[in-house]
């Protein structure tokens, strides 16, 4: 009875993910590399310089 039950029900997708340790390793590295490292680098690359008005006020024509 129990064997028939397990045959009819498919393994849940998340369980398949948790069973694949190489995939888990990949996800463990990739998720943090993207969300911390790459996002951080993108934010740094998009920084703008000090606004010209502020520089103009202090340095004038220099």
């Amino acid at each position: 009875m129990e064997e028939r039950k397990t045959e009819e029900r498919k393994t849940p997708f998340l369980q398949l993910v948790l069973d694949d340790f190489m995939l888990l390793l990949f996800l463990g590295v990739t998720i943090y590399a993207v969300s911390y490292l790459i996002w951080g680098l993108i934010e740094l690359a998009w920084l703008s310089p000090i606004p010209a008005e502020i520089k103009q006020e202090l340095l004038g024509g220099r």
């Binding site: 129990e2 039950k5 397990t6 029900r9 393994t11 849940p12 369980q15 920084l47 703008s48 310089p49 000090i50 606004p51 502020i54 520089k55 006020e57 202090l58 340095l59 220099r62």
Partner: protein, 176 residues
């Protein structure tokens, strides 16, 4: 026997009531702690909103020197003392091993602090208020400050920056 794989179809077995309760409690605690970070940002004055600009130590030093020249009112132990007008841009530079300049501010007025370093990583720690920020060379960290009480406040460097790190103490004087 944890070395053996679990029996087939173990994930279809019913979860016991106490395990469900344990998972629920742990999840609730995690969610509370997660959203508490937002509460601390709004009500606890932690993780303040800020702006960052890209700069160079040379450029920031030139801006700070010009700022000091414009608003200098005196000197204290060889460090210039400046009194900028309210609602203006205030430049504060950290370098081995001093904070420059000494700032004289007015209570209840807002100032936009531009903080950067000329050499290596320093830490801006305003005493005795619980405010701490990292100060990097090459980045201008802009924060809006509003002094809420008068007195003299020390700025302590809380990122180890060398042999004179413990002497790197700046000052903010707040007047009525």
């Amino acid at each position: 026997m944890a070395l053996l794989p679990p029996e087939e179809g173990w994930y279809f077995k019913r979860v016991a009531k106490d395990e469900k309760m344990w998972i629920t409690l742990a999840l609730v605690v995690c969610l509370i702690l997660f959203f508490w970070m937002i509460v601390w940002h709004i009500y606890g004055k932690q993780n303040p909103s800020f702006t960052t600009y890209r700069t160079t130590p040379e450029e920031f030093n030139a801006l700070t020197m010009a700022f000091i020249e414009k608003y200098k009112v005196g000197e204290m132990n060889g460090i210039p003392v400046v009194e900028p007008p309210p609602n203006s841009d205030v430049f504060l530079v950290g370098k081995m091993w001093r904070w420059e300049p000494v700032l004289v501010l007015r209570k209840g007025q807002e100032y936009r602090f531009h903080i950067s370093s000329l050499d290596l990583l320093h830490g801006f720690s305003l005493q005795p208020v619980n405010m701490n920020f990292m100060v990097y060379p090459g980045y201008d960290y802009v924060l809006t400050f509003k002094p809420t009480s008068t007195g003299e406040f020390a700025i302590v460097c809380n990122e180890f920056c060398g042999i004179g790190h413990h002497m790197m103490i700046g000052k903010i004087i707040v007047k009525e």
